[in-house]
């Protein structure tokens, strides 16, 4: 045991006690995180105690060179020195936060576990042809890639095919009345691979007194046992394997098509006058984790941010959640722009997600006449609309319902309703599980 052990335990405990992911998404401070680094607060001091309510408690301060007068702002109370050292009470300072950092991959994995999601990203665009295993072969190549095993096998086969029992053929020449022509014809019949020239040569070396040893070929085959090639190789050994150039093969790597898992996410937000602070915050709470999730899931994620009122325009991420404008609302303007911008990301090469959010208010007939057809025309893994209405429904706010009614039952369109932070996780689940069901 000892302090190292305590430190290790603290790290474990700290990890366990970081803010629960759902709680973090719904109520946590998302602003500390970066697009590629999710920071989830860990409460350092996590053993609770009976304490005074911080706001109700007030306190004592000391002015530096003068005393502030009643009514003067005094800033945030500072943690006090000595609040926790040397008196064996390190847990006294309240409310301090440290951050548990996770990258988007970990975030996506955790969210999968927490929500029971199962989204398998599809590989699309061919980014490179890499060399796989050396499984293909050619007839030429560098010596180092020569497939010697194959060469040897071929040579062996060739040898087996060419070898014959020389003694056996010679015995056939000793059959009464047979000359090379008869033996050759007979050997052919017996499928013995012997040339006519070899028989003539053997015949010329045959002593005359042996030419009538056998009265007939039947007698010869009966008395003389024919030795198989294998037996002979075993007896005499494999003296030479005939390697031939035509048997040479060179190994060559297989070409593998690597498909990158590309994703482009279009975030559309209604910034018109009716989108007040609370609604804006809800949009951020839904979109930001979706962005992290998809960043974590795909090899390469690109984001397009579109703000719209009656018109749409493209914005940078840092402005996206803050913009407010005056005008009316025409949601189709955003989809028109999205269609145009998505041309850079061909459907054959890119996974596409088109997320829109707003309070469901739209100019009359725009949803039915323009938005829905556009949504159908823009191929995407998923279209989603997130309605943020903190105070229930406004009368004319029917965009979400219309979209939902039209696409009901299809699995590439999701509609989610968020009235407060407590709905955020459900909304994220609705959106992400819609595509997951597709699998």
């Amino acid at each position: 045991m000892g302090l190292r052990d305590d430190l290790e335990r603290y790290r474990e405990v700290g990890e366990q006690r970081r803010q629960d992911l759902s709680e973090f998404i719904q109520y946590g401070d998302l602003g500390q995180s970066l697009p590629d680094e999710v920071k989830i607060p860990i409460k350092i001091v996590d053993l609770p105690a009976f304490e005074y309510d911080q706001l109700d408690k007030g306190g004592v301060g000391q002015g530096d060179g003068g005393t502030p007068q009643p009514g003067d702002p005094v800033g945030q109370p500072q943690p006090q020195p000595g609040d926790g050292d040397e008196d064996g009470d390190p847990g006294e300072e309240g409310g301090e936060h440290e951050y548990y950092e996770m990258d988007p991959e970990e975030f996506a994995q955790e969210l999968d576990e927490e929500l029971g999601l199962d989204l398998e990203p599809k590989g699309k665009k061919v980014v490179e042809e890499t060399e796989g295993d050396y499984t293909d072969i050619t007839r030429t190549g560098p010596a180092s890639t020569l497939d010697f095993e194959r060469l040897f096998k071929q040579g062996l086969k060739r040898k087996l095919a060419m070898e014959f029992d020389e003694n056996y053929i010679e015995e056939a020449l000793r059959v009464e009345g047979w000359g090379p022509d008869e033996v050759y014809a007979w050997a052919r019949e017996q499928n013995i691979p012997v040339s006519h020239a070899w028989i003539v040569d053997a015949d010329s070396n045959l002593p005359d007194e042996e030419r009538e040893r056998w009265s007939s070929v039947e007698e010869m085959t009966e008395k003389v046992e024919r030795e198989s090639t294998v037996q002979r190789i075993r007896r005499k050994g494999l003296k030479q394997v005939p390697f031939r150039r035509e048997d040479e093969r060179y190994r060559y790597p297989e070409i593998v098509e690597e498909k990158e898992k590309n994703v482009v996410v279009v975030n559309i937000r209604d910034v018109s006058g009716s989108m007040r602070e609370k609604k804006r915050e809800l949009v951020e709470r839904v979109f930001t984790p979706l962005d992290w999730y998809l960043t974590g899931k795909y090899d390469n994620a690109e984001f397009v941010y579109i703000a719209h009122d009656a018109d749409a325009w493209q914005v940078e991420r840092d402005e996206f959640f803050g913009i407010r404008s005056g005008g009316g609302t025409r949601i189709s303007s955003a989809y028109e722009l999205a269609a145009e911008l998505l041309e850079e990301y061909p459907w054959s090469e890119w996974n596409r997600y088109v997320f829109a959010a707003g309070d469901s208010e739209n100019s009359s007939n725009d949803t039915e006449e323009r938005v829905i057809p556009l949504m159908e025309q823009i191929p995407a893994n998923l279209h989603a609309y997130v309605e943020t209405q903190p105070s229930g429904n406004a009368i004319n706010a029917t965009h979400a319902e219309e979209v939902e009614r039209h696409f009901d039952g299809t699995n590439d369109t999701a509609v989610a309703y968020v009235t407060g932070p407590e709905d955020v996780v459900d909304a994220i689940y609705t959106i992400l599980s819609t595509e997951a069901n597709d699998e």
């Binding site: 009976f50 004592v60 301060g61 109370p77 040397e86 064996g88 009470d89 390190p90 847990g91």
Partner: protein
Amino acid sequence: MSDTDTERRRKQRIAEGLEEPVREANALARKLGLDPFPVTYWIIDYDEMNELIAYGGFQERYPHWRWGMSYDRQQKQNQFLGGKAFEIVNNDNPSHAFLQESNALADQKAVITHVEAHADFFKNNQWFGLFADDPNAAAMLANHADTIESYMDDPEVDREAVEEWIDHVLCLEDCIDQHRPFSTIDGDQPHRELEDIADRLDSLGLSEEVRRQVFDEEWLESQRPEEESGSFPAEPDPDVLSFLRRHGMAYDEESGRAVEYEDWQRETLELLRREAYYFAPQKMTKVMNEGWAAYWESMMMGEEGFAEADEFIHYADHQAQVLNSPGFNPYKLGKELWEYIENATNRREVAETLLRVEGVTWRNFHDRVDLDEVRAALEPDAMLDRLGAATLDELDPDDPRVDAEALESARAGDVDVDRYPWKVLSYEGLCERHYSLVKPQHRGFLKRLTQSDLERIARYMFDDARYASVEEALANVDRCAGWNRMREIRESHNDVTFLDEFLSQEFVEQNHYFTYEFTHTTRDYRATSTAVEDVKKKLMLQFTNFGKPTVVVEDANYNNRNELLLSHQYNGVMLDQRQARQVLERVFELWGRPVNLKTIVKQLDDHDVEVARRRDREPVPEEVGVLVRYDGDSISSEELPWEAVEHLAATDVDYDTKPDEWLA
């Protein structure tokens, strides 16, 4: 701490260099009137220092993640601040103090002087006596560590379960009765009272027969407190830990029932409770104790030249860093208050003496006495400033300000008077040499003496014509009054009584203290008052009961169902509701049955806040009684009629310091 030989030799060398400062600091402290426990100093390296800090100043603690947490924080802090000099000293007899080998000599000296003052405080403050007169904390804590480690190693016991149990108990570590001496709760005797009665019967020397007939087992049993009567405990018990130790049960997940504590659970609870009592005095005297150490450190280091000239800048720099951190600093408050007490006592002594001059009364005081002249007359004898080997001849061994024995050795050349001039002076001599009212930083203090101060002092005075002249009176001013009083105060006070008694409007103004509150109008913190009553109230809130709300055991048979009822003794500041609920969930684990908490909350409805804001006023919240209940599964909360919580509401103090005219 296992060291290699080289390390040990290095530390040895450093230790040798520090022998003289250690010896002389102790001698100086004693000369100044302090009476410290003997201190054993240890030289340790940077890592060891970090470990000690993480362990709350001790070498061995039970295994727990929170030490790891503070170690982690310590390391991160050091990255930013650079390892600075720390002083660690344990309340033990002898005290143990630790010096980091890499510190500069000036830092070591500062730490040593600081430590001597702490050791004096440990020995003489009565609150430290509550735990034990001769504590051996290091051994106790190491012992606890061994015990808990053995539970964790026990194959029958789940390590995680032990750790969790510790967590549960630690949530209540401040729920003890820190104003009473610590006493151990013995093994398996939940009813001490019963033992006592039996003991007392024994001591009466009754015959066995009388005992058997009159005071039989049945009678004895009937003396057992009535647990069923609905009023158990009879009085609300502030020592929640002790109550749980005696009557708590564990919740058994499998059977879904409350079961007796396992031995390890009972023992762990008891030893954590013991540690809470051990650390309580330190928490209760943080302002006083740290202020005391800072005061004497600066007296010895700065004014008595314990830091040599070339070290002084380094020291001053360090001192400034410790005391001048922004905002409210309890150490600084302590040091300032000690200085204020010293000055105020000395001023009072001067005033009393002068009021004894014939013809001087509180009414004509300012006409008859010129306080600037008084101040000039109180300057220490110039001879005391010029002390050195060269001026030894000027000293008179019969002068009470002179240490005759030391003077003799000094004249024989055995004392380095140039280096340690204080050696030839007595306590009285040092009082005069460091007399506070004439110091430049306290210029003006004497002159703030008002007529109403004088009237108050004069009211209890007899014998008011002792001296014929102001000069004669001034010659009789006791310059030791300040230090004498300070030592008295350090014996009997704790932070709460210290602040309550000595904080004054003059002090608050001179040191720029003020109170602040969160205001709903502006949604931020605003200064609310500079009046001493308000500052005192807020400080009381911060230091009473470790700065925590008081929660007591009110009923252990709540609703006649053996449920536990805790009560929050509401003083006008409400509980942090979220944490209170979390604690309640943990109390359940220690009680084994449903637990309840009665409290009072302040409710503000959004509409009222909005209306008040428009009128630029602070909304006035409504106080409502609430019962929070945790049954092992879920938290529920219900509003209570006011009668049910009325007894919990304090009526005497209003901790809210917002000006009345702000309220809606």
